[in-house]
């Protein structure tokens, strides 16, 4: 009995509840005969889709700025990169190459990294001035950036027919199809079917590669310095480490991962979503890593893998199950709100002064 208690404690009560809920949903899905393999295939696809965005939390939390609610800043960088790639494809730059889809996604990633890098650096400088209130400041800085870019999407001089509204020609569309660009490039790479379950091998490989690179970074000299700066700034100072520099580094990395993450997300989704789409993304992503066992001061790659899988798993399986019970409605969205905000509240109430 005691050992069970201890196991539950070390795993964290909310995770036990969420895991149980996931298993329960799977059971219900089996009961209603909803085709478990197809559902699982869906879960895996969404796991890869959201994975890199959630991974963006790791350098942020490890460098001491806490969960990066402002990851939407990186997402905007990624969207800019994708738009530039679409524009260049439209101008015919890639057609001479052997594989225009792959080139276009690489170009999108390069520009995403450049923009997210610049944004992240500036954002990191800001966060150094607001130590102790990073979470609420980053949330509103993220919101402001999304609102600012709502205006920019109307004003930026993109001309590609895929991107802008067809008739009025004023500004960019709300959703831009990637079918002619890099939609599905990762997903279709080495993809295979296992019965009803389709596995997007390429997407998972990209996700795991990113995880591996981040892990490798945390094992390097500079990565260890960054972790030290985050977990104990005074220790870091005593070791001659410039804590502020490390925080900027962590923020920049997190923002860049956000940019890469949205490109991977969009190619799997098939569409680029502009305007208010990234607004609440930060909350979903923060909640995912917390579900995986991270806290506001501590996060590991494992938390990303587990958290994203569980969180997306619940949302994916819940829709068909709920539709069996209640005929209609947008239960998935409501479930997302309750779970993500519930887990964040739980983490905040546990952290107490630890994050101040």
């Amino acid at each position: 009995m005691d050992s069970i208690k201890r196991a539950v404690n070390s795993f964290g009560l909310p995770r036990v509840i969420i895991l149980a809920f996931f298993v329960f949903l799977l059971g219900m899905a089996a009961f209603y005969d909803l085709g478990i393999p197809a559902l699982l295939g869906d879960v895996i696809r969404r796991w890869g889709m959201f994975g890199i965005l959630v991974l963006a939390m790791v350098p942020a939390i490890q460098s001491g700025i806490g969960p990066n609610f402002g990851v939407s800043i990186g997402i905007i960088g990624g969207l800019l990169g994708s738009l530039i790639s679409i524009e260049m494809r439209d101008m015919g730059y890639f057609e001479a190459t052997a594989n225009p889809e792959v080139v276009s996604v690489i170009i999108a990633l390069i520009f995403a990294i450049v923009f997210a890098g610049i944004f992240g650096f500036l954002y990191g400088l800001l966060l150094n001035r607001v130590k102790g209130s990073e979470m609420v400041v980053s949330t509103y800085v993220g919101f402001s950036m999304v609102a600012l870019f709502n205006i920019m999407w109307l004003l930026l001089p993109f001309r590609s027919g895929t991107s802008i509204w067809p008739i009025a020609g004023e500004g960019l569309r709300t959703t831009i199809s990637l079918a002619d660009d890099f939609g599905g490039v990762f997903n279709d790479l080495l993809a295979f079917e296992l019965g009803d379950m389709s596995v997007p091998t390429g997407l998972l490989l990209v996700f795991f590669l990113c995880c591996f690179l981040v892990w490798l970074f945390t094992q390097s000299r500079i990565g260890m310095m960054m972790r030290a700066a985050g977990s104990n700034p005074n220790f870091a100072r005593a070791a001659g480490i410039n804590v502020n520099k490390m925080r900027v580094l962590g923020t920049t990395l997190s923002t860049i991962l956000g940019g890469i993450g949205i490109v991977a997300f969009a190619q799997s989704f098939g569409f680029l979503q502009l305007y208010n789409a990234p607004l609440m993304m930060g909350f979903t992503v923060v909640a995912s890593v917390l579900v995986g066992g991270a806290s506001v001061v501590n996060a590991r790659i494992f938390n990303v893998l587990l958290g994203t899988f569980l969180f997306q798993g619940i949302l994916t399986v819940a829709i068909p199950v709920a539709n069996q019970m209640v005929p209609e409605g947008n239960l998935s969205e409501i479930l997302r709100m309750i779970i993500s905000n519930g887990i964040i509240l739980y983490a905040l109430s546990k952290s107490r002064e630890a994050t101040r």
């Binding site: 607001v130 919101f143 205006i151």
Partner: protein, 494 residues
């Protein structure tokens, strides 16, 4: 020179406010709005939102920061309105029912949020924001699935065609719509007269019973003005004028000016003649001069035109005025002072015997209850409830408005709230039109005002965090300094 310095300092200190004044002037310049149309729209919005913004003040003073959780109060109000509409409540009685239902709900919610905040001291603001989203999720779950799905609700007008879930829009036409706004002045005066008569009677009986001083003079001072107004309402012409529910802004100003002048004259008379005070009270003359100045403004043709376009809903504005006066009064009570102490320094408060957690919970309950009333006022004015939308932006726009007025995370006054509402909503009204005129795209203006709201909050939060870091280093007053052992007992392990 020194005046210039002072002005410069003032401008630098209130940079957000100054920026908004400039923005408003620019937007007005480029928009096609005229002063009367702007005023008309603006005063509707002031009536709608001021109460909500004022509900933010108490948590700020108690050190809880900007209460992003007022969304939860708004949710309580919407639940109450749904119930009232469901059971066919209407008119002012319906409003009273809504208040009766939402008060215990809001108290309960406020208690929960307050207890939660006590577990996350220092991160209340992000906690409030997340708690708002979380409650929104629960609220949507109940309204979209439980109602009709689990709880049988037999009201086809309110429910989605399938019978499960509440419709997107609850129409308040014919029940609660403008039930507060449309209260005729004469009824208000009647009610006030009965109320003051009853209170005076109770006080006299109470004081007689306890053999205390009757303080008749004080009672008369409160009773007489109301009684005179009430008596005047019996004059047919006055009665007819008063049976309207709205008051022209122009008249409101004229009455205000006249009232001020009469009051000051009475004071001068009282001090010179009754108390035989030889000195002429100069400040009284200055006040009268100001009143005269305000009156003079109404003679500017553009102003005159604008002021005579605007009709104020009298009861709504009176309720707002009551809250406006309540907050400073409350801050001067023992509980209010305790809140200020807690807001300034929790360690000192604890060591002076103040129950910090309890005071913080009371502050949250008050804020949540006030926010729920504010939402009722706002929704009865609009006349429709967007079941899944009305509450969402409440926190964002109220907080942005307060900050625009020059408030910060730690300091906020009623004046700043009112100034902020005027500026923020002027910008809000004008931005779409100005955007269309200036850039040929109305959407830019709409996006801009959302950006402005978020941006103002981001800047205020960042500046607060920044100054707190700097301040913490220079003041040198440690936050928690209860006697602690010089050598912390180290247990050896862990």
């Amino acid at each position: 020179m020194s005046i210039l310095n002072k002005v410069g300092k003032y401008l630098a200190k209130n940079n957000v406010t100054v920026l908004f004044v400039i923005l408003c002037l620019l937007a007005y310049h480029y928009s096609t709005f005229t002063l009367p149309t702007l005023f008309e729209e603006l005063f509707i919005r002031i009536g709608r939102n001021t109460f909500l913004v004022l509900s933010l003040l108490i948590p700020i003073i108690a050190g809880l920061g900007l209460n992003f959780g007022i969304v939860i109060g708004a949710i309580a109000a919407q639940i109450a309105i749904f119930v009232v509409v469901l059971f066919g409540g209407s008119g002012f009685t319906g409003i009273l029912w809504a208040v009766a239902i939402c008060t215990p709900l809001a108290v309960f919610f406020g208690y929960l949020v307050g207890s939660l905040f006590n577990k996350m001291k220092g991160t209340e603001m992000i906690g409030g924001l997340v708690a708002g989203f979380f409650s929104d999720g629960i609220y949507q779950f109940i309204f979209l699935f439980m109602l009709g799905g689990v709880i049988v609700v037999n009201a086809p007008d309110l429910m989605i065609a399938t019978g499960v879930g509440v419709r997107n829009i609850i129409n308040l036409d014919g029940n609660l719509r403008q039930a507060i706004d449309n209260m005729p002045m004469i009824n208000i005066i009647d009610a006030a007269f009965y109320a003051i008569t009853a209170i005076c009677a109770i006080l006299i009986i109470f004081r007689l019973a306890k053999k205390r001083d009757l303080q008749i003079k004080k009672l008369l001072k409160a009773f007489l003005p109301v009684a005179i107004l009430w008596a005047a309402s019996w004059i047919p012409a006055v009665g007819a004028f008063m049976s309207a529910p709205r008051l022209l802004l122009l008249y409101a100003i004229e009455f205000g000016v006249a009232g001020a002048v009469i009051y000051q004259l009475w004071k001068i008379f009282a001090s010179k003649v009754l108390d035989k005070n030889p000195e002429l009270p100069k400040m009284r003359l200055v006040y009268m001069g100001v009143a005269g100045g305000v009156y003079a403004i109404t003679f500017i043709p553009a102003m005159y035109e604008a002021l005579s376009m605007v009709n104020l809903p009298v009861l709504t504005y009176l309720i707002i005025a009551a809250l406006y006066m309540f907050i400073p009064w409350f801050m001067n009570t023992k509980l209010g002072q305790d809140m200020r102490t807690v807001g300034q320094d929790r360690a000192v408060a604890t060591s002076s015997g103040i129950n910090v957690n309890k005071v913080r919970i009371i502050a949250m309950i008050m804020s949540t209850v006030l926010a729920s009333y504010g939402q009722i006022i706002s929704l009865q004015n609009i006349g429709t409830v967007a079941t899944y939308g009305s509450h969402i932006a409440v926190g964002l726009y109220s907080i942005a408005a307060l900050l625009v007025g020059g408030a910060s995370v730690q300091r906020a006054t009623t004046k700043q709230a009112v100034l902020g509402i005027v500026l923020f909503h002027t910008m809000f009204i004008l931005s779409a039109n100005a955007g269309a005129q200036l850039l040929g795209n109305a959407q830019i203006g709409e996006f801009f005002r959302v950006f402005a709201a978020y941006g103002v909050i981001a800047v205020a939060l960042a500046m607060h965090a920044w100054s707190r870091r700097k301040g913490g280093q220079t003041l040198g007053l440690p936050a928690a300094t209860v006697v602690v052992p010089a050598k912390p007992p180290e247990s050896g392990s862990k």
